[in-house]
């Protein structure tokens, strides 16, 4: 069994109209190499599910999002995502704005092949008024409580960036927080991983290492080597956020998007991109963020 593939093979699996789940969180461990590859394609009308950062901003700037399912879009140290904001303010896509916990329940429902999971979250808020498709249900037990039935959020393709992966699809996340990557993968028909390094399976032969492996390999269709592939987001403990790059990218929301695409994306493979942002030495020297 060999699941290794190229980054472009991952984007070949993503078709117009699909629901795309994107791992990472805000400005942290986003599969940006895959996102940049996706920007080169004519894929459009995506439903995007993400704990959003510049992944959402770039896909929004490129006009590829038909519907965004989200709890927030932020780049952490650059708190507001300018490209997301511009598109949201222009009404460029439909939104399903959810409490982060509801989003997680929707993923867990899909992962469990259930139609919904019950919760109290949403009551009293405009999440329910803005999303009238979210229904309520009455507890069948003596409490009789009315609950929100958070619908499943099934995904066609999930993409996540990890520190290490092997050819079987085993993977390791070395940063302190795996975020919700495993739930995005479990909610998906197929998941693809980009990895800082492709390693031998023996690398994982250690009890403590195994605790950093939340994604089951049976979920994974393909793994692609993409060293420094989360840049400009962070990939702890290897490298931090490129705040300067994120600020320049933000500024490009005011008429500079085409220039950004030409400089960093179009016609650039990962090594050409890396050269444009200072090379592996510069990315490797980015300090880990403190919060």
């Amino acid at each position: 069994m060999d699941k290794t593939c190229a980054v472009a093979d991952i984007t070949n699996a993503i078709e117009s109209g699909m629901t795309l789940g994107i791992g990472g969180w805000g400005g942290r461990r986003k599969p940006m190499a895959v996102i940049r590859e996706l920007l080169k394609t004519d894929v459009q009308d995506l439903t995007v599910i993400s704990y959003g950062g510049p992944d959402v901003g770039m896909l929004a700037a490129a006009g590829k999002i038909a519907k965004l399912v989200f709890g927030f879009v932020s780049m952490d140290l650059v708190p507001l995502e300018a490209h997301f904001r511009a598109a949201r303010q222009a009404g460029a896509f439909e939104v399903m704005e959810l409490d982060e916990g509801m989003l997680q329940l929707g993923l867990k429902a899909a992962a469990s092949r259930l139609p919904f999971l019950p919760t109290r979250v949403g009551f009293g808020s405009d999440v329910l008024t803005a999303n009238p498709e979210i229904k309520t249900i009455t507890s069948p037990y003596p409490d009789g409580e009315t609950l929100v039935a958070m619908p499943a959020l099934p995904i066609d393709v999930a993409i996540c960036h990890v520190n290490e992966a092997d050819a079987l699809g085993n993977s390791r996340i070395c940063g302190p927080d795996p975020f919700f990557d495993e739930w995005l993968c479990r909610a998906a028909n197929q998941a693809f991983l980009s990895a800082e390094a492709l390693v031998d399976t023996d690398t994982f032969n250690d009890p403590l290492t195994a605790l950093q492996m939340p994604i089951e390999r049976s979920l994974v269709r393909g793994v692609a080597a993409a060293p420094w592939g989360a840049h400009p987001t962070s990939c702890g403990p290897k490298y931090g956020m490129d705040v300067e790059h994120l600020r320049a990218y933000s500024a490009a929301a005011k008429g500079g998007w085409t220039d950004y695409l030409e400089r960093y994306v179009l016609g650039k493979d990962l090594s050409a991109y890396l050269a444009e942002v200072g090379g592996p030495e510069a990315v490797g020297a980015l300090p880990l963020p403190v919060f």
Binding site: E97, E100, V121, G124
Partner: protein, 263 residues
Amino acid sequence: MSAYTLAELCICCAAEAFRGDGEALATSIGLVPRLGAGLAKLTFEPGLMITDGEAYLVREPVPVGPRGDYRPKIEGLMTYERVFDLIYKGKRHAMVTPVQVDRFGQMNISIIGDYERPKTALLGVRGYPGNTISNANSMFLPQHTKRAFVTGEVDMVGGIGYNPARWPNGHKPEHLDLRRIVTNLAVMDFQGPSHAIRVISLNPGVTFDEVQDNTGFELATAPGLSTTPAPTDEQLKLIRERLDPHDLRAGAIPGNPPGERSS
């Protein structure tokens, strides 16, 4: 007593919001709430669970800003997924920094203006709906204005409040528990008639009329409305030397005004 800044006063008020919380997880979003939770833990609430702001529980507050040789003193793990698992259990007090608040205590960080075509898109509701229906919540607002404390309802209700019209079947959600609002002008709570927002202390040199004039709805007052107590020397020392050695708090309130307005 030493001179102090308004930010330092607000940090002490933020700390006070956590009094009585025992072993709750103190989630503090924004610098002043973060320093407040740290100050509470170092003084009167040593049992609080706090994090490094990323993924680890720590046994003492991590100084904000560049850490130099300091390493967080980890006592456990608190990943985002685990935070959400704990929220529903309720042993948590979140102190957040909303952009808009209304008379019900409903909070907004999502959009300003029309929902479909907002004038300003901000972050999104984040965890506000789940936080507010599950556990205690307090707020810090650095600029107490009618733009922040709006007339009518906030533009997108993320954090829920004491608004029966929005409650399921008209019943107050059992765990809804709004505690304190700390601003540059005053400290408030929700203990007015029918949970109305009530001024409990005025920051030095501020009058009730000034607070009311900068609020888009009618405020109640606490019996014996007092002046917000000045930070103690011990509190100032902890803030300046341990919690915020780089004086990031100087940027917390525009102009970094002194705590004693008249001085």
